[in-house]
Structures are given as structure tokens and as C-alpha cells.
């Protein structure tokens, strides 16, 4: 049992890229990163789970579609059902949508280009494992790097997402303004991330794990990971 140092599992799928960065970012923020393997059926007693970015299974068929069937995903689903915090970043977000743990889907960017740059995102709710303690309206600078990040959802799902305040982040301008220009991939409602109705599962396209070290750039990812660690600790 961890005392004061939450253990955050990071799943490596074949084709994951950001698993090491995620583990390093967790450590930098005061937690312990625990590597988890896609073919295992054991979460090693972690307090939170991150599904990292990359191109799991080559993103064949659809992004995230094959990773959903990995043995470890049964454990992740059980963990989420029990209220455990689960965060999907980029490819991890795509996996959570394919697995039905989050609503909607991520399709090809509106302008077809792979985008790799820093964006501003606006916090929309403090009710999620990555925004607890953050103030809605706050703007954070975090990088994105994806070709398929355009968020779409069925009309009824979208209505629920908005009505129940399930949006965690929206792409915005530096002052928090929402407009087409700053909607980096054409997502519906400029949605950059959502949470589950129960509030313990969250997915987002931006990469907080790449924005934690002041030596290499903006640190907009720090508050998200700090939130996750606090959220995990509160459950221990």
C-alpha cells in the first residue's frame, strides 16, 4: 500500500510510444510510474492507470480498435468499474472510445494533416481525475501530435456530453476564446477531452506527459498529473 506516493500504471501496447514519457512525468510529479504490459492480466495493485499515446497495433483497422481486445483491457475495465482513475492520452483516448469506456470517436483531422505543436486548452470542469483542483476557464499550454484527433459523437451522446458537463478540455485561443481558428483538428465543439459520467475515466488528445519539465518547454501538463496523483491518493 502506498503512503503518500501513488502508484500509476502505464500500459505498454505493441506500438505505444509515450509510455516512458508518461512514467517519467509521473515520477517528476511525485508519483511512482509502474510499467504494465498489454498481454498481462494484472494491474499490480496500482492506484491509477494511464493508457499512453502512440500507434497501438499499428493503428490498423481503426485507431485504438485492436488494443481494446488486449488482455489487460479486461482488468482496466474492472478497475474503472470499481471507480479507479483511468486516463487515456491521445492513442489511449482512442482506445477508451473504442472500448466504450468513453463516448464518441476520433476521426481523421479536418485538414488531413498530422498536427504536432503546442495548443491552448481551456479547462471545462473540475470533476475529473485530471482536472480536480483546476478552475474552469483556466487555460493551459500542452502539445498535441496526432493525425486522427477530430472528436465526433452520435447526436444523442453529444447532447449528453454537453448536458452533463462531460467535456474536460476545449481547444481555445491564448485568452480562452473558442473559435474555429484554434480548433486544431476540427473537433465537434472544439472538444479536446471528455470524462465518463461516473467521473473517474478521462481521455484527451493533448499530451500532458510532454509538458511537465520546465527545462524543455511549457509545463501545462503539470496540473493534470498533479490532479491525477491527488485523485489516486484520495482513493488509497
Amino acid at each position: 500500500m502506498s503512503l503518500g506516493k501513488p502508484r500509476v500504471g502505464v500500459v505498454t501496447f505493441p506500438g505505444s510510444l509515450d509510455d516512458r514519457d508518461a512514467i517519467r512525468a509521473v515520477a517528476l510529479m511525485g508519483g511512482e510510474g509502474v510499467p504494465l504490459w498489454h498481454a498481462d492480466r494484472d494491474l499490480l495493485g496500482v492506484d491509477a492507470v494511464i493508457l499512453p499515446g502512440g500507434f497501438s497495433y499499428g493503428d490498423y483497422l481503426r485507431t485504438g480498435a485492436l488494443a481494446r481486445f488486449a488482455p489487460i483491457m479486461d482488468e482496466v475495465r474492472d478497475f474503472a468499474d470499481r471507480g479507479g482513475p483511468v486516463v487515456g492520452i491521445c492513442n489511449g483516448f482512442q482506445i477508451l472510445c473504442e472500448a466504450g469506456l468513453l463516448a464518441g470517436a476520433l476521426i481523421r483531422n479536418r485538414r488531413l494533416r498530422f498536427v504536432c505543436r503546442f495548443v491552448d486548452v481551456r479547462v471545462e470542469t473540475s470533476l475529473s481525475p485530471i482536472t480536480e483542483g483546476l478552475v474552469p476557464g483556466e487555460v493551459l499550454r500542452i502539445p498535441v501530435k496526432h493525425g486522427e484527433g477530430q472528436f465526433v459523437a452520435r447526436p444523442d451522446d453529444l447532447a449528453r456530453i454537453e448536458a452533463e458537463a462531460l467535456v474536460t478540455f476545449r481547444y481555445c485561443g491564448p485568452g480562452g476564446e473558442l473559435d474555429d481558428e484554434h480548433n486544431v483538428n476540427g473537433s465537434t465543439g472544439s472538444i479536446a477531452g471528455i470524462r465518463s459520467p461516473q467521473g473517474n475515466v478521462a481521455g484527451l488528445m493533448p499530451h500532458p506527459e510532454h509538458a511537465v519539465d520546465p527545462d524543455v518547454g511549457p509545463t501545462g501538463g503539470q496540473p493534470l498529473l498533479a490532479s491525477l496523483l491527488a485523485f489516486a491518493l484520495a482513493r488509497v
Partner: protein
């Protein structure tokens, strides 16, 4: 018996298809200015060993629903060998 089937997966009508748009945008430059509504989908060919074509079709339908397509963004259609024209 073995049955050949084809699953055609297409993006739902309302959804923006950037790939189709890109192709549509290139056609006029090649002299075809009269083309619109280009949509790109994918086709999965399968050979299924089953008792009957009906059984093969039923199985492929479930496979298409659970794996080959994502019901949030895609529709699918199942074609038999005759329908494909082989």
C-alpha cells in the same frame, strides 16, 4: 463449405470525410470538374467456413458489428460472392 464474403465499411453520411474531400479537390486539376460527393470507405474480403451461406453471413455480420466497423462513425454492408461479381 467455404463462402466468400465482402464487408464494405463506410463513414456515416453526416460525417465529414477529409479523405474524400482531398480526392474531390484533386480531380478538377486533372480535368474532371464534374465530380462531387466523393466518400472513401474500406472493403474487407473474407472466406468463412460454415454450414450455409446464411450462417456465414450471420457470423460476418456480428464480426462487422463488433470489430470491423465502429457503429459510432461507420455503417457496413455485407456482399456475397455473386453480389461482388466473382
Amino acid at each position: 463449405m467455404k463462402f466468400q464474403l465482402q464487408v464494405v465499411v463506410s463513414l456515416k453520411p453526416g460525417l465529414l470525410d477529409p479523405q474524400g474531400k482531398a480526392i474531390e479537390g484533386s480531380l478538377p486539376a486533372m480535368g474532371w470538374a464534374n465530380v462531387s460527393k466523393v466518400r472513401v470507405g474500406k472493403q474487407v474480403e473474407l472466406t468463412v467456413e460454415a454450414e450455409s451461406e446464411e450462417a456465414a453471413r450471420e457470423q460476418v455480420e456480428e464480426m462487422a458489428r463488433r470489430l470491423l466497423s465502429n457503429p459510432v462513425i461507420e455503417d457496413f454492408q455485407i456482399l456475397t460472392a455473386e453480389q461482388v461479381g466473382r
